[in-house]
């Protein structure tokens, strides 16, 4: 994979809970999102099998959007959504897997589970973004992305709809950067443009 060898961030991972939907949609309506990265989205939502989240995102981007099925291949330039009622894991650099085991932080999918798995498999090639939410899920996972050398962005709790989740991440020193939701798309573009190695 010659091409991949020069891409600094193979994965851009976004986790959020209450109050995060608008920011997620804002990110994906950004023109010129890099097609060399894969996007992984874990949003807490009611246990609802319909694919409303995928539809909302699809309507704002021409990147393909997929709700992950078991052993789905990981391709660049694609937005992957953690399906409701499953944990989303990374089997190896090319493959997702799913797990319907116990909830973590009362959540399935759990952001911690996916972030931790991304950190383990992709190491420093991950940008982790944690958004608004009323739950502690995601903070530890984000810290693991940071520990593995990845770049981590936390939505500013003061301007988040619900500041608890991002504040937990800041308390754990999981944030490389704390920023307002409106700035996050530019941050992604800045990081991915300057980050070829």
């Amino acid at each position: 994979m010659e091409e991949n060898a020069i891409i600094r961030f193979k994965i851009i991972a976004i986790g959020g809970s209450a109050g995060s939907l608008d920011t997620v949609l804002r990110i994906f309506q950004t023109p010129d999102l890099p097609v060399s990265s894969s996007y992984v989205v874990v949003i807490h939502r009611k246990n609802d099998p319909s694919s409303i989240l995928s539809e909302l995102i699809s309507a704002r981007t021409y990147l393909p959007v997929k709700e992950v099925e078991d052993k789905e291949p990981i391709s660049p330039g694609t937005i992957y959504i953690a399906p409701s009622d499953y944990h989303l894991l990374i089997e190896d650099e090319k493959t997702f897997s799913l797990d319907s085991s116990e909830k973590v932080h009362h959540s399935r999918p759990s952001i911690d589970v996916t972030f931790e798995s991304l950190a383990e498999i992709f190491g420093d090639a991950v940008i982790g973004i944690l958004l608004s939410g009323a739950n502690a899920d995601g903070a530890e996972g984000l810290r693991k992305i940071r520990d593995a050398g990845g770049y981590t962005i936390v939505q500013n709790p003061a301007t988040s709809e619900v500041g608890y989740m991002p504040q937990q991440a800041i308390n754990l020193k999981a944030a490389v950067e704390v920023t307002d939701a409106t700035i996050i798309p530019d941050t992604i573009l800045r990081l991915t443009l300057n980050a070829e190695r």
């Binding site: 099998p49 078991d70 897997s97 797990d99 085991s101 116990e102």
Partner: protein, 277 residues
């Protein structure tokens, strides 16, 4: 539950542990999907307060009674009645009428865990007036969990959810008529288990044991790697009548597997396939 720490477990340690469980106890987890397996093992270490892999390994080597616990923890036992109600609606409305034309119906719930879906199926068959001519085989690797199927006792706290699922699946009766509530437990009608055959069966190492018109195996294959998925799907293929039905979990798929070309997915996005040859 709080998070795990995958860093506690190196890949070499994992191989060592899986080898030991296989050689000394005959359970082969080597083709389980790695990401989930590592999570489960680190989870065991957290719950059992084992600070390092060495402590876990020592316990496995020295304590015979610890193995059943490990097996239980490594195999995920999350299930519910009428999970994904729409799948059960399609079973009720489109699959059972086909099965009704057979003089005798054999159904296999493979990896059925504590049996919630087995009872759901029995209820569907009962309501279609087919239970008397059906046999439902319920199997799982885990002897401990299938004991529950014979008892037919489930936690009362889930009944509200199950009742809602039942209605969404097209059920028109009063769901609470199927069980007797006693404190925090619901004991299901013995009539539902009259046509059940409950046994341990290991999908990794055991063979086909009968021919079925319907095989239900939901959220089991997700824990296997692709090689083992292929092997188990071949086992199902060998155990399924022509024109029989295969039902998988809502995020499982047989495309990209070796048996895919023999099957046609039903035209409603549900994870139900029909064996065409």
């Amino acid at each position: 539950m709080k998070g795990t720490d995958l860093a506690l477990l190196r890949d070499e340690d994992l191989e060592l542990l899986l080898n030991e469980i296989f050689i000394s106890h005959g359970y082969d987890f080597t083709n389980y999907a790695r990401a989930s397996l590592k999570r489960r093992i680190t989870r065991i270490m957290v719950i059992d307060r084992l600070p390092s892999f060495a402590e876990l390994y020592y316990r496995v080597k020295s304590d015979e009674n610890y193995i059943p616990h490990i097996i239980r923890q490594l195999t995920v036992n999350v299930t519910e009645m009428f999970r994904d109600p729409h799948t059960f609606k399609v079973l009720r409305e489109e699959v059972l009428p086909v099965l009704a034309t057979h003089p005798f119906i054999r159904i296999w719930h493979a990896g059925c865990s504590t049996g919630e879906e087995v009872y759901s199926m029995a209820i569907l068959l009962e309501e279609a007036n087919l239970l008397h001519k059906a046999l439902i085989y319920a199997t799982d690797i885990n002897a401990h969990v299938i004991e529950n199927i014979k008892r037919g006792i489930f936690p009362m706290q889930h009944m509200k959810n199950y009742s809602e699922n039942y209605i969404l699946s097209g059920g028109r009766r009063d769901f609470s008529k199927y069980y007797t509530a006693k404190y925090e437990w619901a004991k299901f009608d013995d009539k539902l288990k009259e046509r059940m055959i409950v046994a341990t069966h290991n999908l990794v190492s055991d063979r086909s044991f009968n021919e079925f018109q319907l095989i239900c195996c939901r959220n089991v294959l997700i824990y296997f790697d692709k090689e083992l998925q292929d092997k188990v799907l071949t086992l199902f293929d060998d155990s399924l009548d022509k024109l029989g039905f295969l039902v998988l979990g809502s995020k499982e798929n047989i495309r990209f597997t070796s048996v895919a070309s023999n099957y046609r997915q039903m035209e409603n996005k549900e994870k139900i396939w029909r064996k065409m040859r």
